[in-house]
Amino acid sequence: MHSRIGFDVGGTFTDFVLHDAATREIRCFKLPSTPHDPSEAIGAGLSQILAPAEIGAGGIEPSRIGRIGHGTTVATNLVIERKGARTGLLTTRGFRDVLEIGRQTRPHLYDATVRRPPPLVSRANRIEIDERVLADGTVLIPLDRAGVERAARRLAAAGVEAVAVCFLHSYRFPGHEREARDILRTILPDAYVSLSSDVLPEFREFERLSTTVLNAAVGPRMGGYLDRFLAAVRRLGIAAEPHTVHSNGGLMSAAAVRELPVRTCLSGPAAGVVGSAEIGRAAGFPDLITFDVGGTSTDVSLVADGRPLFTSERLIAGYPVKTPMVDIHVIGAGGGSIAALDEGGALKVGPRSAGAVPGPAAYGRGGSEPTITDANIALGRLDPAALLGGQLAVDADAARDALRRRVAVPLGLPLEEAAHGIIRIANATMSRAIRSISTERGHDARRFALFAYGGAGPLHAGELAQDCGIRTVLVPQEPGTLCARGILLSDVSMDFVRSVMELTDPAGWPGIAAGFAALRRDAALWLGREGIAPAERRYRHTIDARFQGQNFEIPVPIDDPEATGPDPFLARFRTIHRQTHGYDIAGRAVEIVNLRVQAIGPVERIAWTPPPAAGSPGDALKAHRRVYFGGGDGWLDVPVFDRAGLPAGTRIDEPCVVEEMSSTTLVLPRQSLGIDPAGNLVITLA
């Protein structure tokens, strides 16, 4: 077995996880990110792994690296910072302004100063072409090839580096888009071209257009980044083909990322969810709510029966993106969220954040407003000295002072009650997010375990679980680097979709089966290109369906489309509809909207370094510390443990704190802590 490296490039840190096949050891560490060129931090991290002499640890030969996978925010950042390539658009005559009008809605109902993000292609570079296809895929007006040539020359003169092509109803008839592409290639041979029928062959023109334009706009720079990244990897002598995690949590090759960079916009977070699902399943908890608290935001998602839930649409910097992705709900509350009283006397936590600069008051970088992190420090929950193994200088008095001046005194509350109020409000915001991914989708949160990670997730998880009626909290090892670890637990995978729009009946079923067969052929070709041997290939089939006349489809997993007839499918659809919407309609026709095949090339799982097999918790005791728990418990003097020393099978039935390099876990009164054989913390609520 070869060694593997996973790393996740975040805004502040790039996290690395190495699995050394020879020693079966795992090493993880964080380096500051290099936003101007993320491949710098990557190169530095890989050198640390490969060139051990400088840091004095046992090294790994580059040739022994069998797999290397990474999570990246490059595509997302290009959009957020509007640094995409200069892009042109070809679209159907009469529709160039769809990109700008969108769905004609405004982002804030009442606040006119909140404006829509500007279109990613300026109006001068959005060119209309004479052509028209009808809803059934028939051609009303043939493509004006000369018009495409003229448009291509105009865009060439305007110096565009990328062109998006989006014609109406191309999900039904992609011919015109392909013809246009061929013409563009002759006149703009170097331009990056994206067709909407390739990027998103689904109906609803604005969302398809927006996704295609984003793909085109990030394409050239993403290609440049991949070149530098691959060069860095090769320079270090690593021969393995580097993979990238995409938004559905699967891995794909650099060549696939070049074609569909828009699919990486949720790269790192998706890997975190996939890793959670994998670790949870191994630990006997297939049903999870994942809970990742970072510096400025919190991500929550739901894993049912060992599989993450997926969604197809979200906004990136205000632009709709429709691709298959792990359904992650992001809220603007994280460690850096600021707590403040508004003029009506309400205590608000977030969405303003102190970010990395000025940061929490305790970090002494100029922050004067109290944050969630300051509240955790003031309550004794977070030890200033333990943050990142002591690498961060922290001033607890500054945290208390900010809390006192800005919150406690104006509210007439003792400091600790004010700080605890901030935590409770933050938890209420987080529990609202949990409700929206669980009960809003027909899942009872109380049946799920809370899987906490990110730097601050394990600090909040105990109270949050209480709020949501959740009975178990699971904390993996080194929760602060879980996304990088998730990359080592991801499979090679890609989604294939085909719009159908047919009513379900026995006569039409062979057509459905044939549709799946065609998708599976595409999927097999792709897996072949990714180097997955035929015997290893796996396929998952899903039908997006709805009652005739509805607008929103429900994904219905089916086992084998040839063997499954329409009846088992219909029964399953009705069950899922009842679960998500609370009712079903007897006798109403069911419409099949999309067929989906997920192609999977399984990757062998690795286990984390197990906890000590023997010993007692006393060996791991670092200190005792006063921690505020609120309610009837107030301040309690509790033990603080070093996680690495806690042996498997440990059970602690008292409130305590568990510290490690990347995170801190808080166990509340009336909760008990156990260590499972894999080294996960398992907190059980009474």
Binding site: D111, V114, R115, L140, R204, L341, D342
Partner: protein
């Protein structure tokens, strides 16, 4: 005011009994109404609700006080509040049972704002007593009456505007009154869609009620009651502080409807906003007489429009609940377009609602500091309705669409092009969804050149939507106001472009039609094009930077001729040289300008 200033403002007023519990409760409450809204939109059947999201949900307490509204359509607050009041007026809570739900829509009998907005109100029981009301309303694309879509500007009374529902018990002890449901549904042009959507509306409230009961079980009824009182008091206090900070002031603004549905003179809508101490009053004296057509505005719609405008101008993040209304007094003389007498038709009240919001905002701009002023937006409710045979299933479809226009320019940037303003924020129907379901073809969906009012900052542009019929049985209406005068500019800027309707554009028989048309038969091959109004500009046109003029020219948003008329030949020549120097450079200028606008 920037958020940072808000956050650090000193707190002088008494604070809530328990501000922490209040904030936690408020989050839980919002989670409940969010989930209700999600259920309603995701599981409904009519394009109007599922795709255009023309619906709203809210939660009230037992006394009928609004405690939370999900943010969908501000105007719906009127129907929601009115229908809960009507339910409470119709019977005592003691006369209600668990498993009951009520239906109503009429503006004179049941607090409605026009017949297509049907409300469902469901009492929520805690310990055997009514503790809350879950409510939602959806705009049904047809409820019968003289024309498809049920809202004709020529309707003379509510009797022409479809089925009138006083408060009726449609669910009794959990048992659906199918006789009543069928009776209602068969008085509309698409009974199947009505039945399905009404069932979804009922299920939506049941879900909200269950979540509310669960919340009470977890928090305790006493704590929930205290948190509600805190929340409403907090909202009221926050708005009163804003009023006090703004200072004693008075301003008036008059805007005009083109006509009252039967031609004649423009109809004024005049608002006078007065701030005294911590009170705010809005007086509509000076507004035009009751409309002969259907532009009349029921009381609840008027209130919702005023609350919208106050919130937008004084505190956009104020929570929409009963606390918001305490400090506000509204006076509207009876027998005017903003306070009609029975049985005046009300179907097109949304257009008047836009004018009311525009007038109140205009009045505020007389005294608010310059950075909070905004030019008039398109301020109308441009509506098109098509009816005919659906592509599948052999039924009759009714497709209603309201089309956005320009948003007013502000002191630091151009107004948004092609967007919904004020009391509505419904989505468009994608051309690909529309063509799949109806025998119609969208020929164009675009911004209207030269429709943004000139100024230092340009008003937003109107939208053109051109639709061709593919079936001889298609009938359509169009209702566009703002054809006579454009949206007012502010601070010496020019008005926005006017609306117009064109039939058979680009074909030999092309004609400009009246801007309000009803029951037009549109044979296969014929088309109707509507162009909605742009918005007013901000600041004197001569102060518009040449780079912005160049950007508009390069992007084709403004023609050279119009630019010369508005900004002067010299300024345009300077700008044009920028464009001529390099089209690339100009488009870059345009792009960088756009990038600079959001804050």
């Amino acid at each position: 005011m920037p958020p940072a200033a808000l956050a650090t403002a000193p707190v002088a007023d008494p604070i809530a009994a328990d501000p922490i519990a209040m904030e936690i409760f408020s989050n839980r409450l919002l989670a409940i109404v969010d989930e209700m809204g999600h259920t309603l939109i995701r599981s409904s059947f009519s394009t109007n609700i599922k795709e255009r999201k023309d619906c709203s949900v809210a939660m009230f307490d037992a006394a009928g006080r609004l405690i939370a509204q999900a943010s969908h359509v501000p105007l719906h607050l009127g129907s929601l509040t009115g229908s809960v009041r009507a339910v409470l007026a119709s019977r005592t809570p003691e006369a209600m049972e668990p498993g009951d739900a009520f239906i109503c829509n009429d503006s004179y009998l049941a607090g409605g704002t026009h017949a297509p907005d049907i409300s469902i109100v469901t009492p929520v029981f805690v310990d055997g007593r009514v503790a809350f009301f879950a409510a939602n309303c959806g705009h049904h694309s047809d409820v019968g009456g003289s024309v498809p879509g049920s809202t004709s500007h020529t309707a003379r009374s509510v009797f022409e505007e479809g089925i009138r529902l006083p408060v009726l018990r449609i669910l009794r002890g959990g048992e659906l009154d199918t006789d009543l449901l069928e009776m209602i549904a068969h008085n509309t042009r698409d009974f199947e869609e009505r039945i399905l959507d009404l069932k979804v509306q009922i299920a939506t409230n049941q879900r909200g009620g269950a979540l509310m009961a669960d919340l009470v079980a977890r928090m305790g009824h006493a704590e929930v009651t205290r948190a509600i009182d805190d929340l409403l008091a907090y909202t009221a206090r926050r708005l009163r502080r804003r009023i006090v900070e703004t200072g004693d002031n008075q301003g008036s603004f008059t805007t005009y409807l083109d006509d009252d549905g039967y031609g004649g003179d423009p109809v004024p809508v005049r608002a006078t906003v007065t701030l005294r101490g911590d009170r705010l009053s809005v007086d509509f004296t000076g507004s035009g007489p009751q409309s002969r057509g259907s532009f009349n505005m029921p009381r609840n719609a008027l209130e919702a429009s005023v609350y919208y405008a106050v919130k937008a101008m004084l505190d956009p993040d104020l929570m929409p609940n009963q606390g918001m209304v305490e400090a506000i007094t509204i006076h509207a003389p009876e027998g005017t377009i903003v306070n009609p007498r029975f049985p005046g038709a009300v179907g097109s009240r949304a257009n008047t609602a836009q004018r009311v919001a525009g007038a109140v905002i205009g009045a505020f701009c007389r005294f608010l500091p310059v950075e909070r002023r905004v030019a008039s937006g398109n301020d109308v409710m441009s509506t098109v309705v098509f009816s005919g045979p659906a592509n599948r299933g052999g039924r009759t479809f009714v497709y209603v669409e309201t089309i956005g226009g320009g948003a007013g320019a502000q002191w630091d940037g151009d107004g948004t092009d092609g967007v919904h303003v004020h009391v509505t924020n419904t989505s468009n129907l994608p051309a690909e969804a529309l063509e799949k379901e109806y025998p119609l073809l969208v020929e164009e969906y675009a911004l209207v050149t030269d429709s943004g009012g000139a100024g230092e900052f340009r008003g937003g542009m109107g939208i053109a939507r051109q639709i061709r019929s593919l079936d001889d049985r298609i009938v359509c209406h169009a209702r566009l106001d703002g054809a006579r005068r454009g949206a007012a500019g502010i601070e010496s800027a020019k008005p926005g472009g006017r609306s117009r309707v064109v039939l058979d554009k680009g074909r030999p028989q092309e004609t400009q039609a009246a801007s309000k048309i009803v029951n037009l038969a549109l044979a296969a091959g014929r088309s109707i094009r509507v162009e909605t109004p742009g918005a007013g500009g901000f600041g004197p046109p001569e102060r518009r930077p040449p780079a912005r003029i160049a950007g508009d020219l390069a992007e084709g948003k403004v023609t050279r001729a119009a630019a010369e008329a508005d900004y002067g030949a010299a300024a345009v020549a300077a700008a044009a040289s920028l464009v001529a120097a390099s089209l690339v450079a100009a488009s870059l200028v345009a792009a960088s300008l756009v990038e600079g606008t959001p804050r």
